[in-house]
Symmetry: C2
Subunit: 114 residues, 2 copies
DNA sequence: GCCATACGCAACCAAAAGTTGCGCGTCTAC
DNA sequence: GTAGACGCGCAACTTTTGGTTGCGTATGGC
């Protein structure tokens, strides 16, 4: 009935800051907590916490490179997330459509009665 | 650059409980804090707070009916929200696609070198 | 070797999500 | 009509989450 939605995945991309982080990582290909925080209105530490959330959700993975820790988007997992966005969108669209055609049916019935 | 996303609208539908509430309201056509909480793992009061958030975001509207207060989804606003889901999905998809074709190009270059 | 820089950890703060408890209005059944 | 049940709103409190500052440690460049 209700779309099979992974709440962890969804709430990971639900946060505006995290969504922008994913945007940035996709645009640049990779990034560290420091480089990301430079483009965001929050501190490096806040970014670090968000990265931990994204990591737990599997949306990003990290690779240590010397003294820095580079993160990149896990494409497969992001694809899954996008699929879920679509699924919910499609579900709601379908419901809205049904309501609309229902309303039209009622309208037709009314007109017929007249 | 980054999709024109309404953070208030998005964070309204970002919460799993609120998303399920919208699902329920769409399925039943309407509902009260009490009826919704019956189908959710939280108390009526928690549902009331979520309804207030959804109301502020314009996603639902309410109509008093005797001793109960019935809520229903604002279809136009939900349609807007769905559009935003699609927008973000499309953006990320495009980026993933670019990455994929980039990877393929690199692969081709490698093979050519061999 | 020394200093910049990048990171991790810890304490702390504020807002959001959720809870319990309570009082008030409204419907219903006797 | 009034008694009890039902639905709601308000208030106090707790927990989780997003954010901060401060500090110690490790690594890379000169």
């Amino acid at each position: 009935m209700s779309a099979a939605v992974d709440d962890d995945l969804w709430s990971a991309i639900g946060d505006p800051t995290r969504r922008r982080m994913i945007d940035l990582l996709l645009a640049e290909g990779q990034g560290t907590a420091t480089t990301l925080s430079a483009h965001l209105p929050v501190t490096r530490q806040a970014v670090t916490k968000h990265l931990a959330v994204l990591d737990r959700a599997g949306l990003v993975r990290s690779a240590p490179a010397g003294r820095e820790k580079r993160y990149h988007v896990d494409e497969a997992q992001l694809a899954r997330a996008v699929a879920q966005l679509r699924a919910v969108g499609a579900l709601w669209d379908a419901r809205l459509e049904r309501i609309k055609s229902l309303a039209e049916a009622i309208q037709r019935a009314k007109n017929a009665k007249k």
